[in-house]
């Protein structure tokens, strides 16, 4: 148990160091080692996909047999469609007409549909959140209204000054704030990465 914990940390440290160095050092050995590790990562990811498949079958299999009415139906549809895609893909290939038909007719429209819901969610979130309860919220509200009007053609009809004011807001205070957050987030990522590489952070091993 102890050995596997320390081995996991050692592998993480060495891998992280090699791949980190490959971003700066031009030595063939470092490049090759880094590429090899990344390739192993891709292979591990592919095996992990099998694990995900098994997890889904386990959970939805349980619901199909022991779940209530609608749970059963949803799980049946999920497992059924999953198996159909897997069988068609394996037997006929992912370039086959049937696979492309299933992909283009089901996956593509469903993907786009769920994405298009975001617009509605943004509208209801705006109704809830953009209320001037205090000075900060008031600034947020005014800025949001100006930027929305500046980005839509109708805004220019109301006042021709909206687009240049919007451009200034986006290019100056917004960009400045984002750069600040970007710098902070990058430093946070470096600190977390160092904690992982030095074995101080072990939660990814499941042992806190």
């Amino acid at each position: 148990m102890v050995l596997s914990k320390q081995l996991g940390q050692l592998i993480a440290a060495i891998s992280g160091l090699v791949i980190g160095l490959s971003g700066f050092i031009n030595l063939p050995a470092v490049k090759v080692a880094s590429q090899e590790l990344l390739n192993w990562g891709v292979v591990l990811g592919a095996f992990a996909l099998g694990l995900g498949f098994a997890n889904m079958l386990k959970i939805h299999g349980m619901k199909m047999f022991r779940g209530s009415g609608s749970e059963r139906a949803f799980s049946l549809i999920l497992v059924g469609s999953m198996l159909v895609m897997v069988v068609v893909g394996l037997v006929q290939g992912i370039q086959s007409a049937n696979y492309k038909f299933l992909y283009n007719s089901f996956l593509v429209p469903l993907d786009s549909t769920i994405f298009s819901l975001i617009a509605f969610y943004i509208a209801s979130a705006a109704y809830r959140a953009f209320v001037a309860r205090n000075i900060d919220a008031a600034i947020l509200l005014v800025t949001a209204v100006i930027v929305m009007l500046g980005r839509a053609p109708v805004g220019e009809l109301i006042w021709s000054g909206f687009p240049p004011v919007t451009d200034w807001i986006l290019n100056v205070p917004n960009t400045a704030g984002q750069r600040g957050i970007m710098i902070g987030a990058a430093l946070g990522a470096i600190a977390l990465s160092l904690r992982i590489l030095l074995g101080i952070e072990r939660s990814y091993l499941g042992r806190g």
Partner: protein, 258 residues
Amino acid sequence: MFIKGTVFGFVLLLVVSALIIGSILRGRRGVLPKLRVIPGVEAIPEAVGRAAEVGRPVLFNPGIADLTGDYAAQTYAGLEILSYVSRLCAKYDVSIIVPIRQASVLPVAEEIVRFGYLAEGKLDKLRPDAVRYISPFQFGYVSGVLGITERERIAANFILGATWSETPAYIEAGYGAGAIQIGGTANLHQIQFYVAGCDYTLIGEELFAAGAYVSQDKAKLGSILGQDLGKIVAVGLIFLGVLLASFKSNWLVNLMNK
């Protein structure tokens, strides 16, 4: 030996790393920084407690990024906090649901949640479908999470990790379920949705510091000081750059391009 254009970046990385490692060593010796309160982190026990009161589950969404790549740090940060949340859920007998998009995150999340329950001696209370792989497709995953949020009527919604355009969907679904929501990401283009929609938000580096903050581990807390020292270096470079640019000097730009 160095790839063109990376020498300055490498030296800067070494400087920042030295500052962080120095702070970690100081932390281990007991010299700890005084941290400001991060409201989002302080609210985590409150959120889990509320879920315990109403008898409804907690949803923990570690984001949709992988364990490798540019956004991996956010996934690790989210998993750090999952470790804390799962222990709290075990302690207060609250169900936890962790939907997963990237298959490689699945075994890690399973192990973290399992260990959290084991540490509290409540492994038998862990539901077998706590950690669920949903879909590798972004919006397939989103629709799965929306369904879970609605059907399970979650009481606390944690969205801590790398998320993209789907963020408003998680937040609105959580609001519709009546959940208390704590969100955080370092993806700049999504922060506004968290700020507008969540009860508590962790912005950028607060997400990375949160894991250290909740653990109260001396070494981890020391690293937070290192981050702030790195910021001082960054601010110093910015001032120097502004000064030099004002006098039309390209010295710093040329140095950074080495």
